[in-house]
């Protein structure tokens, strides 16, 4: 994030300063309402001016996020939020760039970009509201859905192993890996603050129930718990823990110190007219 933007900001910003007046299309009870509040709280806590923050998304329920914020927003095509955010951050390192979306957008159609965004380690914060379902298209299995979850598109379940986003993120080189629960606003806000502050690519999976197509997820509040061990900077230890937990351990699970993607741009550069002399015979 931009140090100068933080320093220049007044101290009076509140979460409401980051919200637009557009009413979300989300269903009553959707976890994403809480995430909207948590992100705006985090931005207010960091005193980042709304015009210096850009929120980028793809397609899906949670990808509607940018329009509900009062920051600059980019609502692109399905699965391509991370490349847009990458291009924006490299072109404009002075901005704080968040990328928001869902499990289908990020891990299925956008899966390749997820791997490479982790590898590239550009200073972005990627927040995935994971509800293990395609909500916008009315309830098909997503990459994080359990293999036996029954649906008309794949009766009896997909038979396909659920995607493990945090382990994949670790293996691919993400610099910050955390899991949160939308129904725990205090912890989620703190995690988002830390994720934005941390240099490099920060990945936050937020369990965000879909009460419409996955009413069973109302029970998540009874399953989640603070991870029983403190965060680590050892990716193999973090991976082992994540692979052996039940998916409900919350907290910052890994915080690494890999240097972020280096953006090399000369401060002083040549006139355009100087370019091309090499072609003169």
């Amino acid at each position: 994030m931009s140090q100068t933007a933080e320093a220049a900001a007044p101290v009076t910003l509140t979460p409401n300063d980051y919200k637009s007046n557009i009413k979300p299309i989300w269903c009553p009870g959707c976890g994403d309402y809480s995430v909207l509040l948590e992100i705006t709280k985090a931005l207010a806590a960091l005193a980042l001016r709304p015009e210096n923050v850009a929120i980028v998304s793809g397609i899906g329920c949670s990808s509607r996020f940018p329009a509900y914020s009062n920051c600059y927003g980019f609502h692109g095509v399905h699965g391509r939020a991370l490349p847009v955010a990458t291009g924006l951050k490299i072109a404009r390192p002075d901005l704080t760039v968040l990328c928001t979306g869902g499990d289908g957008d990020g891990f299925s159609i956008g899966g390749n970009h997820f791997l490479h965004a982790c590898r590239r380690n550009v200073d972005l914060t990627y927040i995935v509201m994971d509800n293990q379902v395609y909500g916008m298209t009315k309830g098909q299995a997503s990459p994080t859905t359990d293999p036996d979850w029954d649906h008309v598109l794949m009766p009896g379940g997909t038979g396909t192993r659920a995607f493990q986003p945090l382990v994949i993120a670790l293996a691919s080189g993400a610099n910050f890996v955390a899991r949160a629960f939308s129904g725990d606003p205090a912890m989620t806000t703190d995690i988002i603050i830390e994720a934005i502050r941390h240099p490099g690519f920060s990945f936050v999976q937020i369990l965000s129930p879909c009460v419409t197509f996955r009413p069973d997820q109302r029970e998540w509040r009874n399953f989640v718990r603070q991870a029983p061990v403190p965060e680590t900077n050892d990716p193999s230890r973090a991976a082992r823990r994540i692979m052996s937990d039940d998916g409900f351990n919350l907290g910052i699970l890994y915080r690494g110190d890999r240097p972020p993607y280096r953006i090399s741009r000369k401060a002083e550069f040549e006139e355009v007219t100087a370019i091309g002399k090499e072609f003169l015979v």
Partner: protein
């Protein structure tokens, strides 16, 4: 126009391409114009290679109908080049007798034959190389003076040190001596250098045009034959304060440039057909969100992987029609290597001015041909978009409905103008909307940007007049121009050339003006299904009397066959 065409062939590592490069450079120093293409076997490294150099006393943009000289360092697989290196009874084949018989595929047209012991001579020179013997032989036959050869060698071999230079010069001297008895085939210029020339490929020229147009950000995914645009521009950006990032695929590269352009930086990527196919969805996003970007498509043979190393004009349909929905955007095509500079620069200018994507349709031939040209004109075209400075006390409307259709764009960082750029249909503020009124308003606005803009005379090259017209586009223009030049030199005028540079938005009034008085039309294009013909028929009023000369790649049009067709068509 006087020309001289030389082919140098040899198997992998023999250095035929180096000989071709040096020949072209030395000729450029003497004031020649020229074009050099190459043909190589399918191997990634090694394999047979042919350098084809055509020199001229006038600017040329077309490969040769026939070759004056073919020099072969060996005959391994050389028969493969027979369809490209056309010989006749006036052509001269120079071969090494130690390499065996000349393949029958090359002798059918009964060319003259001379022998030089290239390999043996190379062994007699300390660290001598066969391709430098070859350069000496050719230099002697075409009358290339030592001074020009030495100047080029010093430039090319300077880094390798004095010893490499001396052994090369010894080899060249030996080659010259061995060629002493061969009757000359003279250079098309007399050695007065005239104005200094440039040597450039179309891919580098497109990169230069991009930089001149103000491109600051490039996302790159390698693909044949577009990679050289990206590799060249990487270095240029590092000198001009820009940035290049290597993407994981073309889906990422186009979306990265969308992000960078949303951030306020003029942005570009370059690709070829398969990459363009992947980018099409996001081109539509650029249209809807009104984010300017430039995509250079260096066309190759398609569909699918097709023929990656050969030009075809068969991406016209996808570039013009590939986007879903009603998505007005810019499609432009350079029609010469030199024009790759100006048309790419213009594309950056237009994309920025109209806040919409521009697709630049170059092709493998333009992209990879090395051309001797006059220094390209500098044009006062620099991409500048209409920026919002503040909301003026009102709610900022990113997609405000304006007379021109262009709305002031706020760049992140500007207080009070936060908005969301959206691929969802939206109202003027940018809020997603599915109402008929908002959809109609925004469709009209985006269309109006293109229909109301004055594109000026640059939309096409129109040369000559008369009741007959040849309509073409892109790289084929070079062969047509040369064929018409031949006809004119023979006193056969009265044929118009219309080479369309701005494909979309279409320009019906300008087109009608260009064809005023024309009764018959010949269309020429490098596409199996005649995509250009169907494009013209869909958008323009054409005379009823239309003929078409079209063919798929990889056999490029040459001036001779175009000339023959024009003659039989026109009766001139």
């Amino acid at each position: 126009m006087k020309t001289l065409s030389i082919a140098v062939v040899g198997s992998g590592g023999a250095g035929a391409l180096t000989t071709g490069n040096l020949l072209l450079e030395a000729a450029a120093r003497l004031g020649c114009y020229g074009i050099q293409t190459r043909s190589v076997g399918p191997q990634i490294r090694g394999g047979e290679a042919a350098a084809m150099v055509r020199l001229s006393d006038e600017p040329i943009d077309c490969i040769s109908d026939r070759f004056d000289i073919m020099l072969a360092m060996d005959w391994n697989n050389v028969h493969r080049f027979a369809p490209e290196i056309l010989l006749d009874e006036n052509s001269l084949i120079i071969g090494d007798p130690a390499e065996g018989e000349v393949p029958p595929a090359l002798t059918r047209s009964n060319p003259q034959r001379r022998e030089v012991a290239i390999g043996a001579l190379a062994k007699q020179v300390r660290k001598g190389r066969a391709n430098m013997i070859a350069l000496g032989v050719i230099a002697e036959v075409i009358g290339l003076p030592d001074a020009a050869v030495i100047a080029v060698l010093e430039k090319q071999l300077g880094k390798k040190g004095e010893e490499a230079l001396l052994s090369s010069l010894d080899a060249i001297t030996a080659g010259r001596a061995a060629a002493a008895g061969i009757e000359p085939r003279r250079l098309p210029v007399n050695g007065s250098a005239g104005t200094a020339k440039w040597i450039i490929t179309g891919n580098h020229a497109a990169g230069l045009g991009a930089i001149r147009g103000g491109i600051k950000f490039v996302a790159a995914y390698p693909i044949t034959p577009a990679t050289e645009v990206l590799e060249w521009i990487s270095k240029a950006l590092s000198r001009t304060g820009g940035t290049l990032v290597q993407a994981e695929d073309e889906l990422a590269s186009i979306n990265m440039i969308l992000g960078a352009s949303f951030g306020g930086q003029p942005s570009l990527t370059a690709t070829s057909g398969p990459g363009l196919s992947l980018m099409v969805e996001s081109l539509g996003l650029a249209v809807s969100a009104e984010v300017p970007i430039v995509v250079i498509d260096v066309m190759r043979g398609g569909p699918s992987t097709g023929i990656p190393t050969i030009a075809e004009q068969s991406d016209l349909n996808i570039a013009v029609y590939g986007l879903h929905g009603d998505a007005p955007h810019l499609v432009l095509a350079p029609n010469s290597v030199t024009d790759c500079v100006a048309t790419t620069q213009w594309s950056v200018f237009l994309a920025e001015a109209l806040q919409t994507p521009a697709v630049v349709l170059s092709d493998q031939y333009l992209g990879q041909a090395r051309c001797i040209i006059d220094a390209p004109q500098t044009l006062p075209l620099r991409g500048e978009r209409l920026l919002a400075t503040d909301a003026g006390g009102e709610r900022y409307q990113r997609y405000a409905v304006t007379e021109s259709g262009v709305s002031p764009m706020a760049i992140p960082g500007l207080p009070g103008c936060q908005h969301t750029a959206d691929g969802l249909e939206h109202n003027p503020i940018g809020t997603p909307s599915s109402t008929a009124a908002d959809h109609q308003t925004q469709l009209d606005k985006r269309q109006r940007k293109l229909t109301q803009f004055d594109f000026g005379d640059r939309w096409a090259d129109i040369e000559g007049d008369g009741e007959l017209a040849i309509i073409t586009w892109g790289s084929v223009t070079g062969a047509v121009r040369e064929a018409l030049g031949r006809l004119r030199a023979e006193g056969g005028g009265g044929i118009r050339l219309v080479s369309i540079r701005l494909l979309t938005p279409v320009q019906p009034e300008r087109f009608a003006g260009a064809l005023a008085g024309v009764k018959r039309v010949l269309l020429i294009e490098q596409s199996h299904s005649a995509q250009f013909r169907h494009f013209l028929a869909a958008h323009y009023r054409l005379p009823e009397d239309i003929e078409i000369l079209n063919r798929a790649g990889p056999l490029l049009f040459r001036a001779g066959e175009v000339y023959d067709r024009i003659k039989s068509w026109s009766g001139v």
